[in-house]
Symmetry: C2
Subunit: 483 residues, 2 copies
């Protein structure tokens, strides 16, 4: 049992030091490593397999809404970034610049894309001529760079992977509709595939995307009560269309500016998975995104038992092939060591197969989330296992919903607000009269930011006063400390 | 019929001007565009959909050989590139350099990866401790940059997309075996999925990868008789292991250097598809990689016929969903215009559905490759269409094999060699005594390069003299002008 103890000792206690726990889990589960270039990360195979599952499921959701994929260049001329005033102000400080190429100094420095609105705007201006060319619904999966001083694997790195969708429309209404449609795609993905409950709504003026008319986001609560913005969708209005001259000839013979949108989800989401579901033994991965949904641990004591066990393991593996993602751990470690290893790595279900199981033509299933053990006949496995995985998926979601509920507060008192933020963390829902100065003051005083103005508002409007300014409230808003 | 003529007029004749034809097809079929950054490209949705199919099929082939995916950083410290002498010599002139980031000059310039052997070598040195950690079998799908003076969409651009596999092994033999195994994966993908016949073999010393012990490649013949290197696999021996100190503790207690490999296929392959299969009407895409395998063109003259036709179209579309990739062209263009449009864009099979077809409960199928027309009952469609697509796939491959056969020459006379290269193009197979100086002289005199020393050599060894030096030949080699 010494190995077990050793394992437990090696991971920091979640409640004592959440960020230490997070970093240890990321490294120990071999999800990612720091790169030799400051602030950049290496996504290791186990972490990248989560990303591949995310890509596959999210991409399918995009395609159901008629989005197609494309690829735009990594490098963006400086002059492009400068064309939309708010945009350059927001991104210029974080840009990495290419100044030499092919042995020569470049005439104009090229930015490594921090995001691609500008180069895509330039391109759409050439592609779009008539209303018949609209809408344009394009996404790209790529890498972007935003030079960061303080970095955390997955959550904030100078280079990260993401997808960025960019659409162009005839009308502002249509752009607004698409902006909200893509936020709903993110919500559904987060809740159904990642088992992460989110609050969907609008960002404040302070927190919106540099150059957007309006930004919507989904906000999730992490295991320490802090918020993570898990996906954003921006209605860019005519801003980029005007800066890049994206016009179309409408059916009425008039030339008009397009309305555009952009929306993105990134490898941050993997950080979210870890922080929402993990526990003191390590990762807990939702079955739909887990690289391995089931790990099979063969058990035998005597050499005589070995061949029967391995035969049964092979039979079960073959039976589940193409239906469930299975890993058979054939390493030389002890079963106990393997249990700890795969618990730490978050595999949703462990399957133990020992001599007695072979005799009974059964296996022992152990859930990662609640450690419940169920013996089950091999004949029932093909039907039962997918059901069990779905149960685990739902249980993780429900547990996260419950946790969020327990850590969400409503108050009309700013003193209480400060106390909650300082001592309890979690989300605080308050009455709010949208005011950027008040928002900045709260951030200054408490480190809490306005995460989102939820779509879900009281029926018949908000009554009462803003928690900070005392002005008549116009909405309810969620504040929290955030990643 | 004016539209048809117009279409034909707009594409250059393949035989008159192959490169003009190529560029027109790429632009007109909306596969790619030049970017505002010199030498970079935008891959448009129709071109990117080909890349997605390629990724899916090739990635599945990798995973069958136990390869897993990961992601390594975009930026590589200059000192890393400089550590392997041949490697830096080969790549330094093409590198784009980041010199500023986050508002500051960087202490050390960072290269945008031209390829990732160095940063991966550095990482493997940390990950690999013992023989139990081996082999490491990792691939990544990413973007790379090699600053190019003269560029052609897909074939040679400063930024391109590719996959680069990097493996580490205990022994040189095992690395050699993996190098050849991955070349075989490329061969099978090229021939079975892309319908492109290739010659697999070894590169000469002159043409091998900068830093490799040996490079293997697959070489394909384009429609103008020139060669395209379609995939390469490098046995790096201990070179990178020594430069980056990738060592492991072997079971005998000795510390030893790993043997490593790398292998890649890129968006160049899309250029290959175009140039192997296309004709004077435009693209011809092999069904396994085609974004749309079938385009349905509804036909009606009188408004009264429309609803019955569209009903049948919807029925057929639904029947084929998930089995065949179908595009229904509901645009306002005439049927004739649509025929030309989708022929130009290379859709393997066109399905015409008109009032008479509805009455007969049949559809008309027209193959893109040979324009053969077959009426077929709707009830037989679900079975027949996948078969027809497979026939088209095989026919394209056979036609390319035949074309290569007709344009491959064998000669012992250097005068004849020169004449063939100058007048006929194609591949020339010659007896060869491996000699780098002779190879360079031939390149100088004829622009032909040694493409590959095929695995397929005469039984019992090569008899006779080298075509250039007159020394006893050691092998047969293929020369050609190349992209
Ligand atoms: Zn113990
Ligand atoms: Zn005509």
């Amino acid at each position: 049992m010494d190995n077990e103890e050793k394992y437990v000792e090696e991971i920091a206690d979640q409640e004592d030091n959440f960020s230490k726990w997070y970093n240890q889990v990321v490294r120990k589960a071999e999800l990612a490593d720091y790169a030799p270039v400051r602030g950049c990360m290496i996504i290791r195979p186990y972490g990248y397999a989560i990303w591949e599952n995310l890509q596959r499921l999210l991409d399918a959701r995009f395609k159901e809404t008629d989005v197609v994929n494309a690829y735009f260049p990594l490098l963006i001329p400086r002059s492009f970034l400068e064309r939309e005033a708010e945009h350059v102000e927001g991104f210029a400080p974080e840009v990495a610049w290419v100044t030499r190429g092919g042995g020569e100094e470049l005439e104009e420095p090229l930015a490594i894309r921090p995001t691609s609105e500008t180069i895509i705007g330039h391109t759409y201006a050439k592609w779009i001529q008539s209303y018949r060319d609209l809408p344009v619904l394009i996404n790209q999966w790529n890498n972007v760079m935003r030079w960061e001083k303080r970095t955390t694997l997955f959550l904030r790195t100078s280079e990260f992977l993401w997808q960025e969708g960019h659409t162009a429309h005839r009308t502002l209404d249509e752009a607004e509709e698409r902006t909200k449609q893509m936020l709903e795609v993110y919500r559904a993905f987060a809740e159904e595939d990642a088992a992460i409950p989110v609050i969907a709504g609008r960002k404040s003026e302070n927190e919106k995307f540099a150059g957007a008319l309006r930004t919507y986001s989904i906000e999730a609560m992490m295991g320490d009560g802090k918020a993570l913005q898990a996906g954003t969708s921006h209605n860019l209005g005519n801003n980029f269309a005007k800066s890049f001259d994206i016009q179309y000839l409408d059916s009425d013979g008039q030339r008009k500016y397009c309305a555009t949108t952009s929306w993105g989800m990134s490898t941050r989401m993997i950080g979210g998975l870890i922080m929402v579901h993990g526990d003191s033994s390590g990762l807990i991965l939702p079955p739909r995104l887990a690289p391995y949904q089931v790990v099979i641990v063969p058990i035998w004591r005597k050499e005589a038992e070995k061949s029967a066990v391995l035969e049964q393991v092979a039979r079960v593996e073959k039976m589940l092939k193409g239906k469930v993602r299975v890993k058979v751990d054939m390493s030389e470690n002890t079963p106990g060591w393997k249990y700890n290893e795969w618990e730490m790595r978050g595999v949703p279900v462990r399957m133990e197969i020992g001599p007695r199981d072979v005799k009974n033509n059964s296996v022992m299933l152990v859930r990662r989330d609640n450690r419940a053990k169920t013996p089950i006949s091999v004949d029932a496995l093909e039907t039962h296992l997918p059901e069990l995985l779905e149960e685990v998926q739902q249980a993780l979601f429900q547990r996260a919903v419950e946790f969020r509920k327990q850590n969400t507060y409503a108050t009309d008192s700013y003193d209480e607000f400060k106390e909650i933020i300082a001592e309890k963390r979690g989300f605080v829902r308050v009455k709010w009269a949208e005011d950027s100065a008040a928002e900045l003051a709260i951030k200054e005083e408490t480190k809490a930011t306005l995460r989102v103005i939820p779509f879900d508002q009281p029926e018949g409007g908000v009554q009462g006063k803003c928690i900070y300014t005392g002005k008549p409230a116009t909405c309810e808003a969620i504040f929290a400390r955030a990643y």
